[in-house]
């Protein structure tokens, strides 16, 4: 079963992928957040595995990662929390996002096995180079039926985009512009649109989700004009800051984007 493929077949437009950091705001929010985000209408769930030095992330996700680590989150705790999640959330694709070092220390094969057993569908490791993926991990990912998701940026060359498109069977993560997660779009008018249209015109195999700098209903809807959907992370984390009812705050946030 490929839940990622299914969700894109069922719904061709306006898909919402939400990111949150496992163990934030408190250690045991992971499963309640998955449930409330799904019930509120999120189409895909991306769970961040916190790392001490998240290079591709802006200050909001960095701070949530630091807090999650202080709360005691780690890979073993996360996989224990995810046990049985598929009884409660059977259809919604779940992806794990994180950095290579914690995965390497856990053991890549162990990681794949535990992820597959928990019912995880896809993995995003921004600092895993394509060549290393192909040489060392592709076979392993296939064996455990895990799909890699790769990032594409405005500077990614067309032939490299084609290669990325060939290497996965999930979706393409279009980084909206230069910058880390949670930054505002500072590009001149038309630049971002031209980039999205250039990718659209390539007629790629995989559907596309646009991420980085998408944070509310307006930016979500604009992104959806150029792709099957969009990814929101930092804005959701901000909505969870300081709340004592994270699932309720998360549901309100999703509704504010989708209403």
């Amino acid at each position: 079963m490929n839940r990622i493929k299914n969700v894109f077949e069922k719904k061709q437009k306006g898909l919402l992928n939400v990111y949150f950091t496992a163990g934030y705001p408190s250690l045991h929010d992971t499963v309640p957040l998955i449930k409330s985000l799904t019930q509120a209408g999120a189409d895909l769930i991306e769970i961040g595995m916190p790392f001490s030095d998240p290079l591709a992330d802006g200050p909001v996700i960095q701070a949530s990662s630091t807090a999650a680590l202080q709360n005691g989150m780690n890979m073993r705790v996360l996989f224990r929390q995810l046990e049985g999640i598929r009884n409660e959330v059977p259809e919604t694709p779940i992806l794990l996002m994180g950095y290579l070092n914690p995965v390497m220390q856990f053991g890549v094969e162990n990681f794949c096995r535990e992820a597959a057993e928990a019912g995880v569908d896809g993995v995003i490791l921004p600092d895993l180079p394509l060549d290393d993926y192909v040489a060392e991990y592709q076979e392993m990912f296939r064996r455990f039926n895990l799909r890699p998701v790769f990032l594409i940026t405005p500077q990614t060359a067309p032939e490299r985009i084609r290669r990325i498109d060939e290497l996965t069977d999930s979706f393409l993560y279009l980084v909206s512009g230069p910058g880390t997660t949670g930054g505002a779009n500072t590009q001149a008018e038309g630049v971002q649109e031209a980039y999205f249209e250039r990718i659209e015109a390539m007629n790629l195999r995989n559907p596309r989700l646009i991420g980085f700098g998408i944070g509310d209903k307006a930016s979500f809807q604009r992104a959806c004009e150029y792709a099957e959907g969009a990814i929101i992370g930092s804005a959701l984390i901000r909505a969870l800051e300081g709340t004592d009812d994270a699932p309720a705050a998360a549901a309100r946030f999703v509704q504010s984007v989708l209403k």
Binding site: L55, L69, L100, N101, D127, P129, F150, V175
Partner: protein
């Protein structure tokens, strides 16, 4: 001897260490650099400009000084490679002069850098002033406090110094912030990394630009001792750029013992240390697979050293390979012994070394060198920037 100590593989590996573990946002810049750096470095026009600046601006060749009183004390023949006499006061400028010329050839107009002790930041700000380029230096908030004179120097040179406020607020975090800046400015910006760290090709690029140190050593040793080859070369290692430069032309000479000196902080097992070769295991930091101080979950742990330039949880992949293969011996020196070595060199030879460099000097007693052995210590930097620290620890030092 394998020839791989000097030359990493095409994908940037020294043994199992190296590579380029970077997010897609950095790929075009790093790939452009990878494809062009060897051609640019080999270009005669580049070499002419680089060599001329090294001579007329940096002040190379730097002297190789026979330290007679220090030699007497340790009953061996100690020579000091005087990188502290380079313009800006440390070896760092060898690299920044080369990289700014490289950046110009790549068509970049904006320069970013990270700095720990501030020496690399000053060296970058200096060459940016020389070339009229915009310069932004990231520096940990704690390091800005303990290396104030260098912050003022960078500002005087026209650079903008941005405080890194995340994590341990030291060199690791300054490097994170510089990388994030590069992600946000992918077109016009070149990142001048200050050490033999980061994704391939940086470790090789910086090692090649620092290799002038050992190239000169060989000529000077021949003149002074009758042999190009010493018995020992000793250098301190944070990320490892001065050690890479001092070792480079001796890497394939098995008779030359290479000694890398790390900062033990309060003691290797005290929980407050930066002795990566002892405390680290293979992991990924700043785009490179190397020895890394980390917890069992792969989270990078915070190193400690009194010296801001050695306070880094990794080492360059070349050094990880030298440690792993046994080609270099690694020694770690505690804060207090480094401080004592500051006083010793000051009073025996009239040279006040940087706190980083003092770690290398403090290892002299542990080498086991005999009276006829030739020991070259790379005197990587001068101590002016550390006077405030030396004053604070005057009781230990004097």
């Amino acid at each position: 001897m394998p020839t791989t100590y000097q030359q990493p593989t095409e994908r940037g590996y020294y043994g199992q260490f190296g590579g380029a573990f970077i997010p897609e946002m950095l790929y075009p810049n790093v790939e452009e650099l990878r494809q062009q750096y060897l051609d640019i470095l080999a270009d005669p026009a580049f070499q002419q400009e680089y060599q001329q600046l090294l001579r007329d601006y940096v002040g190379r060749p730097t002297p190789l000084f026979e330290a007679k009183r220090l030699s007497e004390k340790y009953n061996t023949r100690v020579y000091l490679k005087r990188e502290d006499l380079c313009h800006t006061g440390a070896h760092k400028v060898n690299n920044t002069v080369g990289q700014i010329l490289l950046a110009k050839r790549l068509g970049k107009t904006r320069i970013i850098a990270e700095t720990g002790a501030g020496q690399h930041g000053v060296a970058t700000a200096t060459v940016c002033a020389l070339m009229g380029m915009q310069c932004i230096v990231y520096m940990g908030e704690i390091d800005m406090e303990r290396q104030k004179p260098n912050v003022y120097r960078m500002r005087l040179l026209g650079a903008e110094v941005r405080a890194a406020m995340s994590g341990s607020r030291t060199l690791k975090d300054a490097t994170n912030e510089a990388i994030r800046d590069w992600i946000s400015n992918p077109v016009d910006t070149h990142y001048i990394i200050g050490s033999v760290v980061g994704p391939h090709p940086y470790p090789d690029l910086v090692a090649r630009l620092q290799a002038v140190i050992s190239e000169e050593m060989r000529k000077q040793l021949l003149e002074k001792t009758g042999s190009e080859l010493p018995n020992y070369v000793v250098a301190c290692v944070g990320g490892g750029s001065n050690a890479a430069g001092a070792f480079y032309h001796f890497l394939e000479e098995p008779s030359v013992k290479l000694v890398a000196v790390e900062a033990a902080g309060h003691g290797v097992n005290s929980g407050h240390s930066a002795a990566t070769s002892v405390l680290g295991k293979p992991g990924i930091i700043h785009g490179s697979r190397t020895l890394l101080m980390q917890d069992e979950d792969g989270q990078i742990t915070e190193p400690y050293s009194l010296s801001a330039g050695l306070d880094y949880p990794g080492i360059g992949p070349l050094h990880a390979y030298l440690a792993d293969s046994g080609r270099a011996r690694f020694i770690s020196i505690e804060d207090e012994d480094a401080l004592k070595a500051v006083a010793e060199l000051s009073r025996l030879e009239g040279i006040i070394p940087a706190l980083e460099t003092a770690h290398a000097l403090a290892a002299l007693g542990q080498l086991g060198a005999g009276p006829d052995d030739v020991v070259v210590v790379n005197l990587s930097g001068r101590g002016d920037k550390d006077l405030e620290t030396y004053l604070k620890y005057a009781d230990t030092i004097l």
